[in-house]
C-alpha cells in the first residue's frame, strides 16, 4: 500500500503543462485592427473606412507614401488571385510599406509547413500585418491568434471576403450618388440588390449579406437550390430567396453576378445549359427586365456562362469600376491595420 499511496502518475506533470503566460491558442485575442469578417465593422466603422479610402485616393502620392514608410506587410496567398492580391499589394506600396508575397507554390507551405508556423515565421521576419487568402473557412482567425498581428482577410474558403464587400459598397454608393459621409443604417433604403449564382460557395456573397442589410438595402438571392439553400436568407434581415431571375431583376436596381465555383463543387452535378437558360445575365434578359440596373461581378468572370460579353462590357457594367475601387479600399484597410501599432522587430 505504501507505494500506492503516492502513485507516481498522480504527481503533477509540470513538463507537459502549457506555461501560464501563453493561453491556449483558441483562447488568444484577435488583434482589433484585423479585418476578418464584414460583421467586424459597425456602420460607423464602415463610414470611417470609406472616408479614409476617399482621403487616401486623393492624396498626393509622395506624401501618401510616407504614411507607412518601410513598414512591413506580408501577403500570404494559399489560393490564386489576380485582383485581390495585386490591389492589396499596390495599396500597401502606395502607403510606402514594404511588401512580400508568400504563395503556396513557392514556399515551405509546399513542404507541409502549417499556417501557424508560417505566420510565426513571417512575424519573426518583421511582418507587422499579414494579408491572408486561404481555401479554408476561418483560417484568418487561426493566423491572427497564432501571431497576435492584425490580419486582413483576402478571402477564406466559402466564408468571407470583407474587403470585396467594402469595394462593392463603394461601387454601389457611387452609382446611387451617395457620399461616404452619408453612410448610415438607412443610406441604402429603397435599394434592392440581387445576388445571382453560386451563393453556397461564395465568400463574396456572405460578406455582402453581412453588410448590405445593415445599411438598409433589400437583398434578393437568386440561383438553383443546389447552389442556393433556403437557409441563406437567415444571414440577415430583408434577405429573400427568389428562384425566378427575371422576377428578381424586375425588382432590382443593382445585380451582382457570381461565377459557379467549379473548384468547390465537391462532386455536385450542375446542368450548365439549364443554368445558363435560367440564370445567365444576357443582353435580352437585361433589356427586358432590368434595363437600368447596375451590373456587378466580383470576378473572375466566365464569359458565356453566368454573364455574356454584351452585358459584361455593356454600358451598365461596373465590373472594371469595382476592380478600380479595390486599391483605395485596401489602402484604408492596411492603414487601419497599422495605425498606432508599435513597431516591434525585436
Amino acid at each position: 500500500m505504501a507505494q500506492t499511496r503516492k502513485p507516481s502518475r498522480s504527481k503533477p506533470q509540470k513538463t507537459s503543462a502549457i506555461p501560464f503566460f501563453e493561453p491556449a491558442l483558441f483562447q488568444r485575442a484577435i488583434h482589433p485592427q484585423s479585418a476578418i469578417s464584414a460583421s467586424d465593422f459597425s456602420v460607423a466603422e464602415i463610414r470611417r473606412i470609406l472616408l479614409s479610402a476617399d482621403t487616401l485616393e486623393k492624396e498626393e502620392p509622395l506624401r501618401r507614401a510616407k504614411r507607412l514608410a518601410k513598414r512591413r506587410v506580408a501577403l500570404l496567398f494559399y489560393e490564386s488571385s489576380t485582383r485581390t492580391r495585386t490591389s492589396f499589394e499596390l495599396a500597401a506600396k502606395a502607403l510606402g510599406a514594404d511588401t512580400t508575397l508568400v504563395s503556396s507554390l513557392s514556399s515551405s507551405i509546399e513542404k507541409g509547413e502549417s499556417l501557424k508556423d508560417t505566420g510565426i515565421t513571417l512575424k519573426a521576419l518583421g511582418a507587422e500585418c499579414i494579408i491572408l487568402r486561404s481555401p479554408y473557412s476561418g483560417a484568418p482567425y487561426l493566423l491572427a491568434r497564432a501571431t497576435g498581428l492584425p490580419v486582413l482577410n483576402a478571402g477564406d474558403g466559402m466564408a468571407e471576403h470583407p474587403s470585396q464587400a467594402l469595394l462593392d459598397l463603394r461601387t454601389m454608393l457611387r452609382f446611387r450618388g451617395i457620399k461616404a459621409t452619408a453612410i448610415s443604417e438607412k443610406c441604402l433604403r429603397g435599394v434592392t440588390v440581387t445576388i445571382c449564382g453560386d451563393i453556397l460557395h461564395s465568400r463574396v456573397a456572405r460578406s455582402n449579406l453581412l453588410t448590405l442589410p445593415r445599411l438598409g438595402a433589400q437583398v434578393i438571392l437568386c440561383g438553383p437550390p443546389e447552389l442556393l439553400p433556403e437557409i441563406a436568407s437567415s444571414m440577415g434581415p430583408g434577405i429573400q430567396v427568389e428562384r425566378d431571375f427575371d422576377a428578381a431583376l424586375r425588382r432590382s436596381q443593382i445585380v451582382m453576378m457570381l461565377r459557379i465555383q467549379a473548384e468547390r463543387l465537391a462532386g455536385m452535378k450542375i446542368d450548365l445549359d439549364d443554368y445558363r437558360r435560367r440564370y445567365q445575365a444576357n443582353a435580352d434578359r437585361m433589356a427586358a427586365h432590368a434595363p437600368e440596373a447596375l451590373v456587378m461581378h466580383p470576378g473572375p468572370i466566365i464569359r458565356g456562362m453566368e454573364i455574356t460579353s454584351e452585358v459584361a462590357d455593356g454600358p451598365n457594367s461596373a465590373i472594371a469600376e469595382q476592380v478600380h475601387h479595390g486599391v483605395p479600399i485596401r489602402m484604408a484597410l492596411v492603414a487601419r491595420a497599422l495605425a498606432g501599432v508599435k513597431v516591434d522587430r525585436r
Binding site: 498522480s10 506533470q13 502549457i18 499556417l115 479554408y136 476561418g138 483560417a139 437567415s234 444571414m235 465537391a266
Partner: protein, 427 residues
C-alpha cells in the same frame, strides 16, 4: 495489497438502490464489506474518511479512444487511464480505431496487459470488420475470449446492409452488442459541423440530422431480423435518432444508446470563430437537439453517459477548422458536467445521474461485476464531494492531450479518491 476502509461516506449505488451512510471495506481488490458506520472491523486497514462525501461505484466510460497501439503521441493506455482515474472512472471501454486497428485477439490482449500500466480496467471493443473496412467480419468468438466486450467500426460506420446484418447475427450468437457510430458517411463528405444556418454563415459544410437518424433507423430495421440481437448506438446527438431508439425499445427490440457530456451541454454556437476544440463527430447540434438529449437522459431512454474521449495533439488541433481532426478529451470533465448540469440544473436525483455512469453502462455492455458496490464485486470506488466547486484547467489534465472545450469551466462535484480493484489510483 493493504485493505482500505472508506469510512462514513454517503454510499450511492444505483444498482442496489442504496443511498445511506455506510462504511465500505475493500480487500484483495474486491468489495469485502459494506455496513453501517463503525460496524466493520478492519484492523490494519488504511482508513479514508469520507464524511460528507459521496461514495459510489467507480465510474464506467464505455466509449474512449486510448490511441494505443500506434498513436502514443496523442495518448497512451497509461496516460488515458490516469485521466480516467482523475475523473473518477475505474472502467473504460477502448475503441478499436488504433493503428493497427484492433481486429485481432493479439491486439485485444496486448491492450489489457499489465505492461500497459493502466490505472483503470480497460475493456477493449473489437473491430466489427477486418481493418474496419466494412467488408468481412473479424473473429468475434476469438476476440470475446481475449476480453473484447463489443464490436464496432467506430468512426467508420458499417454502411452495407448485408455486412451489418451479418455482424448483428454473429454478435448475437455470442451475446455481444454491435456498436454503431451512426453516420451515413455517403452524405457527410467534407462536412465539419452540423448542417444549418450557422454552417452556412461560417462557410462550412454541414452534416444533416438525417445522416445520423437515417442510419439508426436502418440499423433498427436490420435488428428486427435478428433474434437476440443487440444494437448499441454510440454518441447519439439528434432528437430524431433518439426518437427512433425510443420507438424501437417500445417495440421490444434490444437497442441501447449513449450520449456524451458535450452533446447535452454544448451547442454548435461553441464553435465561435472556428475553435477546433468544438469540432467533433457527431458535431455539436442546435439547442433543440441538446434539449432532447437532456430529456432522453432524464426519462431513461439514454442508457449511458459516455465521453468519446478523443485526444489529439496540439499541432493537429491548431489547424484550419476543416483540416483539424474530430474529437475532444472528456474523462476529467464528465462527472463535473453531469452533476452541474443534470443534478444541479435539472434536479435529476444523484442516484439516477450516477446510474448513467455506473450500473446502466455496465448493463449495456454486459460488464459483469462492475458498476455496483456489492460484496464480492470489483473494488472499484469513486469518492467525491458533490458540493465542492472547482475550476478545470486543461493544462493540469493527466491526458497527454489538452483538446477540450471546457478549459476554465467551473464545475460542481469534485473527485477526492478513485480506487481501481482495491488500488488507490487517484486522490
Amino acid at each position: 495489497m493493504k485493505s482500505l476502509l472508506i469510512r462514513g461516506g454517503r454510499v450511492v449505488d444505483a444498482a442496489t438502490k442504496m443511498d445511506a451512510v455506510r462504511d465500505v471495506l475493500l480487500r484483495d481488490g474486491k468489495v469485502a464489506a459494506i455496513d453501517a458506520p463503525g460496524k466493520i472491523k478492519a484492523d490494519g486497514a488504511e482508513v479514508f474518511d469520507a464524511k460528507g462525501l459521496v461514495v459510489a461505484p467507480g465510474l464506467i466510460d464505455i466509449h474512449v479512444h486510448l490511441r494505443e497501439p500506434g498513436q502514443g503521441y496523442k495518448e497512451t493506455i497509461a496516460s488515458g487511464t490516469a485521466a480516467a482515474a482523475a475523473g473518477g472512472f475505474t472502467t473504460v471501454c477502448a475503441m478499436p480505431n488504433t493503428i493497427p486497428v484492433n481486429d485481432s485477439p493479439e491486439i485485444t490482449r496486448w491492450m489489457q496487459a499489465a505492461e500497459r500500466g493502466a490505472s483503470a480496467r480497460v475493456y477493449p471493443i473489437a473491430a466489427a470488420t477486418r481493418g474496419s473496412m466494412g467488408e468481412s467480419l473479424t473473429d468475434y468468438a476469438a476476440m470475446k475470449d481475449a476480453g473484447a466486450v463489443a464490436v464496432t467500426d467506430d468512426g467508420k460506420p458499417i454502411l452495407g446492409d448485408a455486412i451489418m446484418l451479418e455482424a448483428l447475427r454473429a454478435a448475437a450468437q455470442l451475446g455481444l452488442p454491435v456498436i454503431q457510430h451512426a453516420e451515413d458517411t455517403r452524405l457527410t463528405g467534407g462536412c465539419s459541423m452540423n448542417a444549418g444556418a450557422l454552417a452556412f454563415r461560417l462557410g462550412l459544410r454541414g452534416m444533416s440530422i438525417e445522416a445520423e437518424s437515417g442510419l439508426v433507423e436502418r440499423d433498427i430495421a436490420l435488428l428486427e431480423k435478428v433474434k437476440g440481437g443487440h444494437l448499441h448506438v454510440a454518441h447519439l446527438s439528434t432528437k430524431k435518432a433518439l426518437d427512433a431508439v425510443r420507438a424501437a425499445r417500445k417495440a421490444g427490440l434490444h437497442v441501447t444508446c449513449e450520449v456524451t457530456p458535450h452533446h447535452f451541454v454544448l451547442t454548435e454556437e461553441r464553435i465561435g470563430h472556428y475553435d477546433t476544440n468544438a469540432k467533433m463527430n457527431p458535431p455539436l447540434r442546435t439547442e433543440s437537439d441538446r434539449a432532447a438529449m437532456i430529456e432522453g437522459l432524464l426519462d431513461g431512454t439514454v442508457d449511458a453517459i459516455a465521453t468519446d474521449h478523443a485526444p489529439h495533439a496540439a499541432h493537429e488541433k491548431e489547424q484550419e477548422f476543416d483540416r483539424a481532426p474530430n474529437g475532444i478529451t472528456g474523462l476529467e470533465t464528465a462527472l463535473g458536467l453531469a452533476i452541474s448540469v443534470l443534478h444541479v440544473q435539472h434536479k435529476m436525483p444523484l442516484g439516477a445521474v450516477l446510474a448513467l455512469l455506473t450500473s446502466r453502462p455496465a448493463a449495456a455492455l454486459g460488464l459483469h461485476g462492475r458498476g455496483s458496490l456489492t460484496v464480492g464485486a470489483a473494488g472499484d470506488v469513486v469518492v467525491f464531494d458533490p458540493a465542492e466547486k472547482w475550476v478545470f484547467r486543461a493544462a493540469d489534465s493527466k491526458s497527454k492531450s489538452k483538446n477540450t472545450p471546457f478549459d476554465g469551466w467551473e464545475f460542481q462535484g469534485r473527485v477526492r479518491l478513485t480506487v481501481s480493484e482495491g488500488r488507490v489510483v487517484f486522490r
